[in-house]
Structure formats: C-alpha cells, structure tokens
C-alpha cells in the first residue's frame, strides 16, 4: 500500500534545488514579446480621451491596444468573466475601478512594457463611485434582482418567543491571496492558427474556453498546459483569464510568442480578493445560551463584476450554521456591486465568512449568559447520528432530547448524517487541556495588569462538493508502457497541495507499485478535456476517483489476459509489491505489461468520476449540496499588550478530520498552512482603500501576511484519522479549505483576551481583521476610556 504513506511532495527534490519550473521559468523562444496593462486611475468614470502617443514611442514598444484602437478583424472586445460576460479585457467607454486594465502594451521586454504602460494619458469624466456597503445599499447597486433569502422554520417567531434577544453587527475584512508566484501566462502561436498557452491557473479548461472565444477558434485549436503554480488559493481560478487572453491576442496580432506577468503591485491592484462583508444578526436564546431563532443578513461587497460572487455568497449561507443546529433560521444575502476590484474565489469560497458569523454570535451569547463559550457551543451542537455517543441526546433536553429521533437538518434542509463534532471536540479539549488552561489564564490575568492572555476553542464543519452540481466531475488518463512504467494525467492542477502525489499514490496502489513508479506530467487540456477548476477542496476526491477508474480498467485487462494464459479466473490475480500473482506463480509487473502489449492488449485508458448523491436547488435553498462534511477544531491561546494592542499566538492545538488520510504528511501541511492563513485573514491582513477607491495596501510592505516570526512557539496538529463514511477515494476527506476556518479561533482568543481588560459588562465586539489598532481600541473600550 502506498496510499496513506506520508511521502514527500513529488516535486520536492526539484523545489529544493531550484529546478522546479514555474510558468515564468519556461525558456522563451527567440523573438518573444512581453505585455503590460495600463490601468485606470479612476474608480468610476467615462473615458473622454486617451493619449497613448508616448506609450507607442517608448523604447521597445511593438504594439499598443485599447478599445478605441482595436485591431480590425479581432471582432468585439473579448470577455474575461468566468460567469456572465461582464468583464471586457480592456475598458470600453467606462471604467469601474482603480486598477482596471484600460490599454495593453506589447514590448520587447517585461521592463519596457511596464515602463511604457506608465506613459499613457487617459482622461475621465468622473461618475459617483460606490465604494462601501453603505454606498451600494443606498444606490441599490447589486447583482441579481434583490437579496437571496433562505429560511427554515419561523425565525422571527422563535426570536419573539425567546427569553433573551441579542443583536449585533460585525465587519469582516477581505483578504489578498498573496500567492507567492504572481499571475503569469505565455502564448505560443501554433500552426494552423491555433495557440498553445502556458498558464499559472487552477482552471486550464476555463483558460482554453476563454482564449478560444476571444480568438473565435474552436476549443480544440487551443491547448493549455499548467505544470505547477506557486500557490493559488482560489486566486487563480478566474483571475488568470485576462493574461492568457491578452497573450493569445497579441500572439495572433504579432505572430510572436507573448508573455505576461503581473508584478506584485499590479497583481494586487488588478485582481480580485476574498469578499469582505458586514454581518448583521438577531438571535433569540435562553438563559443557558441555547439558540432558538436566528436571523442573519450578509452584506457582501462584490466589486465591479459578478465573477464568482453568487456561488461565494451562497456558500456563506450554506455555512451560516457551522456545527450548530439552528431550527428556526432566516438568512438574507446581499451581493452588492461596488467600484472596487471584483472579489473572487478564495480558499473556503465564502464558507469562512458564514462560519465566522455564527462563531461571533456564539461568542456574544456566551458573554450575555455569562457561560463558558465551549459549553454554549456544545449545547447548540448537532446531535451525533445513531452512535449513541455524546450528543446523541442523553446530555441535553429540549430539541436535543432522545425522544426526538428525527434526523436534524441544516438550514438548507439537508439531513445531518455524519456529525462527529462531539467526539472530536471532547478529544481536543483533553489533549489541549483547554478548560484547565482557561482557569489558569484567568488567574494569570488577574495578577498581570499590562499583558493579558486569552484562549478559545472553535469547531468547524465544512461541506465538500461544488455547489454548481455539474462541476462535480473529473477525468483522468493513464498509460502503462511496455516496460511497465506508468504515466498519469488528470484534470486537477498542482498548486503546492501535493495533489499529484496523492493521485499517484492511488494509481500506484491499483497496480501494486511504489508511488515513484507513477510519472505525473503537466495538466494539459489536450490530454484530459472539460475539467473543473481545482477548487472547492475537491482535487483529490474527484481526480483520485477518476484516475483510479482508469487504472482499474487497465489492471482488469491485464488480469484477464494473464488469467486467461493460466486458465484461471481474473478475480484470483493480485497486483502487489511490483508483482502480478496468480495460481502460485508471480511475474514482474513490467513482464506482464510487455506480454500484454505483445498480445495486443490496450494498456491505456481514460477514467471518469461524477460525485453521487448530490442534488441542490439554489433558488429554493434546499437539497443536498454536499456529499459529506469535513470537521476539525482548534484551540488558540494568545497574549496581548494592553498598551499597544500588539499580540501574538502562544500555542495552537488542532485536531482535524481528513478521513483516512491519503498522505498524512501532506495533509498536516495543509492543515498548518490553512490555519495560519485563516488566522492572518482575521488578524494582521488588512486591505485599505482610500476615499477615492484606490487600494493603498498593494504590496507586502503594507499588506501583512503572517511571517515566520508569527509562528506559534507551540503548534500541535493531529489528524482525527477515522474513515469517511462516504465512499470516497481510500475513505479520505478533502483537506484544502476546511482547516482554513480553524483560524477563527485566533480571533476568538483575542476577543477573550480583550474581555479580560474590563469588568465584563460590555461585549468586546471585535471586528475583523483584529489588527493591533483595532485590538487597542477594543481594549480602551473595555477599560472605559474610549
């Protein structure tokens, strides 16, 4: 078995020697050209004039394109949107945000193109720019006709009947992906008018589709290849389209290879980020903290174009419950159109925004009732199903009582079948010693006036599957060569998560080989067609199954062949340890491959997988959008300086569910990295737009992702290790996104530490990101001197 082994990333030896080739490292053919966009400096306005003479005259410039000067024969301005054709490659007539591409420079070097792009003079008639949630609400500027509303039960009635009611508003910031490798694409003209594209993208099929559309070519004339990305995190799901289209057009116009790479500042100015939002809540609860009715309003700032905002905002609604049974709930979701970068996919895809909302409510309810937040969390947990274990009804009365044997449902009416929160949290409470440490911290805080510590335990439940049902499919291509070596292609892309290694382990297992015997090459639209984005954490679930199906087809043919030769049954043939065994004989795998080839047996197969069981009606907000849920919980302890608001994590304990892990080394790496990224989102990573709509934090000098020095000195991560109850590949669970939400525990721990600064009468109400400034202001509020 190679499945389940903690093998290193398949590219690790290349990574550490600098040999791993990223899109920007591909040697360019002679005569290659470089592209750069000229960007809008106006957040909303009509273009009244464009003077690009200086751009054209700049050294090294070969061509300049704009909507006013668009090559004849290219048809309309191509569109870059992944959803609704609302993103022209270059602004046509109007600009919608500061950073929008207005013209395109083609030059003989990267630097020449960038320098020339600064020389353009564009005049605008400024229009009122809608920058904030309030601006957009006042102007009723939104995607879709009105808010999306999903409800279960009677939230208003339940709140009216509840003995206690709380209300609150919570601001949650966005997040820059800060993939360390910026966006990059390269287009090479092919014979017959076609084009080959190399792109740092999570979605080669989308690039193929958009480039074909832009060049008026069939998709078959466009080939897209992605070997690896230097990080993606959702930021390369749709945001690479513009570069690939620009390169393909310029390559068509000049007949030369064309490459485009955003430098970091341009990348941050042009591309979309995680959606920020305002969350309003009204909740009815009892004296113990049991929630009866709850109403959420999500106010998302989606930016200027629709991009993926609708499914992102949907997913936030689908995670508004996190681990809690909310029998009467109403969620109203506004998708507001603003004159800012178009917010896009980012690890969790709206899920974290939904989860942080209910965690904030629980924190608030715990404060109001004076109860330990963990008790309030457990009190509201879903029941465990059919296990008779904790939470199956014996501990609490009311809606959780054993008499009520109906399965509980989520706010979107999906039956909860696999809830393991009780067992998992009980285990983590034990290993982290949460309750005892909490008491110790309270004692410590009472004798330390300047430094205050805080601790929080936050559980996570995250739904796995694309909510656009048809995306839940994957294809793979496996070849066995006559020397017994194996080549694998699948539709997923490698962005550091180790997907190729995991899928190779699956295929190696089918053939009874070592993982190293399976060679994985670049993702290539010419090999596996019609793929979905590597997103929604689905990479190994979907592609692992498809690759397994392909490998099993070939193994079946090899087994039939060798069994036939020995006049025995194919079912008795075993593939183990590099050997093919049957009827007391065993042969090297390579030997059987050679014989099969000579016997004219096909040793190549495609494989295909479509996720079963899922049905989803997004208009009604009803169904089973997810095949299963992944779970986890984290305990974070922080310390803060009440004089400056500065703070740091002291210790983190995580227990996370990846089912039966396909590769524990890779999974633990995903969990750690996701936690730190999630904690960064809610603490140090602050996006600031000025009053004109310009993003002022567009470089790492001003936008602070966690650094090595922020690493918690104690960082304990363990995997839950129990098999997925659904029939996934090797009984594993998806791992990319769920643990991102564990970072919420850092925010809640800060809330706890700030609470220790006052007499406990006022709720902390810490907005996110809880930067040192915000923490300091919250400390001052607690101390009663605002």
């Amino acid at each position: 078995m190679t499945m389940g082994k903690p093998l290193p990333h398949d590219s690790a030896p290349l990574h550490v020697t600098g040999q791993a080739r990223y899109a920007d490292d591909v040697p360019l053919p002679a005569g290659a050209l470089h592209l750069a966009f000229g960007l809008s400096s106006c957040a909303h306005g009509t273009i009244t004039g464009m003077d690009l003479a200086a751009v054209r005259a700049a050294p090294g410039v070969v061509a300049v394109f704009s909507a006013e000067d668009w090559p004849k024969g290219f048809g309309e301005m191509p569109d870059c949107s992944p959803s609704v054709l609302d993103e022209p490659l270059l602004a046509v007539g109007r600009v919608h945000y500061i950073g929008q591409p207005v013209f395109l420079v083609v030059a003989d070097s990267h630097l020449a193109a960038r320098k020339a792009a600064r020389l353009g003079r564009v005049a605008y008639d400024e229009l009122p720019a809608l920058l904030t949630v309030d601006d957009a609400l006042a102007a009723n500027s939104r995607f879709e006709q009105g808010p999306v509303i999903w409800a279960k039960g009677d939230a208003a009635g339940a709140i009216a009947r509840a003995p206690h009611v709380l209300e609150g508003t919570f601001e949650v910031g966005g997040q820059e992906h800060f993939y360390l490798e910026g966006q990059v694409a390269l287009a090479l003209p092919a014979e017959d008018g076609g084009v080959n594209v190399i792109s740092s993208t999570q979605h080669p099929t989308e690039i193929q589709h958009k480039v074909a559309h832009a060049l008026h070519l069939p998709m078959s004339a466009v080939r897209v290849e992605t070997r690896r990305m230097g990080g993606g995190f959702g930021g390369k799901e749709s945001q690479g389209n513009a570069l690939a289209i620009a390169c393909a057009l310029a390559a068509r116009a000049t007949g030369r290879p064309c490459k485009m790479r955003y430098d970091r500042d341009d990348d941050m100015m042009i591309t979309g980020k995680r959606h920020d939002l305002r969350i309003r809540y009204r909740v009815g609860h009892d004296a113990e903290g049991r929630i009866s009715g709850i109403e959420f309003t999500h106010l998302f700032r989606c930016g200027w174009s629709q991009d993926l905002s609708l499914p992102v905002a949907d997913r936030a609604m689908l995670h508004a419950d996190n681990c809690y049974h909310l029998p009467d709930i109403r969620i109203e979701s506004h998708r507001l159109k603003t004159n800012t970068q178009s917010a896009t996919a980012y690890r969790g895809f709206g899920g974290p925004q939904g989860i942080v909302g209910i965690e904030r409510v629980i924190d608030h309810v715990a404060h109001a009732t004076g109860r330990e937040p963990l008790e309030v969390r457990l009190l509201n947990f879903y029941r465990s199903n059919g296990t008779g274990g904790p939470g199956s009804g014996t501990r609490f009365g009311g809606p959780h009582s054993p008499a009520n044997s109906q399965p509980q449902t989520t706010p979107f009416h999906m039956e909860m079948e696999d809830f393991i929160g009780h067992e998992l949290v009980a285990e983590l409470e034990k290993t982290s010693n949460y309750l005892a440490r909490k008491a110790e911290i309270a004692a410590w805080n009472s004798t330390n006036p300047i430094l205050k510590r805080g601790i929080a335990l936050v559980p996570v439940k995250f739904g796995i599957s694309f909510t656009l049902t048809w995306l839940n499919q994957a294809g793979a291509l496996v070849h066995v060569y006559q020397d017994g070596s194996v080549m694998l292609n699948h539709g997923g892309t490698e962005m550091g998560q180790g997907l190729n290694q995991k899928v190779a382990q699956v295929v190696a297992d089918v053939f009874g080989l070592e993982a190293a015997a399976v060679k994985i090459t670049a993702t290539d639209t010419a090999k596996v067609p019609n793929t979905s984005a590597t997103a929604a954490s689905s990479g190994s679930d979907l592609n692992g199954m498809a690759a397994r199906a392909a490998a099993e087809t070939i193994r079946g043919r090899m087994a039939d062949f060798i069994a036939d030769k020995h006049q025995t049954k194919a079912a008795s043939v075993r593939f183990e340890a590099g050997l093919v065994k049957l009827a007391g004989e065993h042969y090297a795998f390579a030997q059987v491959a050679a014989w099969a080839y000579q016997a004219r047996i096909s040793l190549s197969s495609t494989g295909y997988y479509a996720t079963p069981k899922i049905t989803w009606d997004r208009v009604k907000g009803r169904g089973r959008p997810f095949l299963y849920f992944a779970y986890g919980a984290a305990v974070t302890e922080v310390v803060l300086d009440t004089l400056t608001g500065e703070n740091r994590m002291l210790r983190v304990d995580i227990l996370h569910d990846t089912g039966t892990s396909l590769n524990p080394a890779l999974d633990i790496g995903q969990v750690e990295g996701a936690f730190v990224q999630g904690a960064g989102w809610l603490t140090t990573e602050e996006l600031v737009w000025n009053g004109k709509g310009g993003l002022t934090t567009h470089a790492p000098s001003t936008y602070k992702i966690p650094a090595c020095s922020d690493r918690p000195p104690v960082f304990n991560v363990a995997l839950w290790g129990k098999p997925n109850r659904e029939d996934t590949v090797g009984k594993s669970k998806a791992v990319g996104e769920p643990p991102f939400n564990l970072g919420i525990s850092a925010l809640m721990a800060l809330s706890d530490a700030v609470a220790a600064c006052g007499d406990g009468s006022a709720y902390v109400a810490l907005d996110a990101p809880a930067t040192a400034e915000r923490v300091l202001m919250a400390v001052r509020r607690q101390q009663g001197n605002v």
């Binding site: 903690p6 630097l111 490798e181 996701a674």
Partner: protein, 158 residues
C-alpha cells in the same frame, strides 16, 4: 542604454554577462544566466523569494543591481547541492515536508544556509526572526523551522 560587461563568480563558476545598468541582479541571474531558481515574489525587498548571498552576505537580489556583481562571489540555490549530494538543509526540507508550492523554498534555503554559517546552533526564536523576511504563503512555517533545526543539528554533528 548601453550594456555593461560584468565579470563575476556564481556558485563557484566564473561567468560573464552583459547587463543593462538598470537590471536587478535577480533579472540578470534569471534572464542572462538561466538560473531561474531565485524567484521574484515582490521585487521590493519584502518577500525574500529572491534571496542570494553576495560575498557571503545574504541579500535580496531584487534590490541589488546586476552590475554590482562585478568581481563578487554570488551563491544561489542552484549551488547548494554538490552534484547529486543534497545539502543537509535540502534533505531536511524534503524529509520534514517543509514546502508545498515550493516557490519560497529556494530563498528560504539560501537564507537558512546563511544563518547556519553565522550561527551553527540557533535557537528556535533566532530561526524564526532570521527567516521573518522570507514569506511563505503555504506552509505556516512550522515544518520549515523543524527542518532548519534538524539540519543544524546534523551539520554540527558532522
């Protein structure tokens, strides 16, 4: 602009190249010498993906001009392994799974090597603060620190 002839030593090899006086050392390494192991993560000295050493001093090669390499000794990630023998840091990064997308890895390895040259037995917090200028968006840093500690121990023993 006329180009300037630069003679320097990269990873022990004498090399020459022609540099536009405005080109960064990073661009010269990547574009003139095809040493693409050093990466550009920001171009402004904030991410460390371009880390190299110049005469033994750790620098961000995006902030050094190519022409400044004249007569200097440059070491990049490509020079760490001796033939097929990986440097202990490289081996430990693989063993500890201290990388994911790998884009930050060359810079971090070069920076860690410079640390161990200066301080063969760094404490956990010395490692954390030394590497604070090398951003990694994927790993959360925990395994990176373990890998550096482990490599340091091995190198002291050897």
């Amino acid at each position: 602009m006329s180009r300037i002839h630069v003679t320097t030593t990269v990873n022990g090899d004498a090399v020459e190249f022609l540099a536009d006086p405005r080109d960064s050392l990073l661009d010269c390494l990547r574009d003139q010498l095809n040493l693409t192991g050093s990466k550009e993560g920001c171009g402004t000295g904030d991410c460390g993906a371009c880390s190299v050493t110049v005469d033994g001093t750790l620098v961000c090669s995006c902030l050094v001009l190519g022409v400044e390499a004249e007569g200097k000794r440059i070491e990049t990630v490509e020079g760490m392994a001796k033939g097929n023998d990986l440097h202990p840091l490289q081996r430990k990064f693989i063993e500890h799974a201290a990388l994911q997308c790998g884009f930050c890895t060359p810079g971090i390895l070069v920076a860690a090597k410079a640390l161990l040259a200066e301080n063969p037995d760094p404490s956990e917090s010395e490692i954390r603060f030394w590497l604070a200028g090398n951003l990694c968006r994927c790993t959360g840093y925990d395994k990176i620190i373990h890998a550096v500690q482990d490599a340091a121990a091995e190198m002291r023993g050897a």
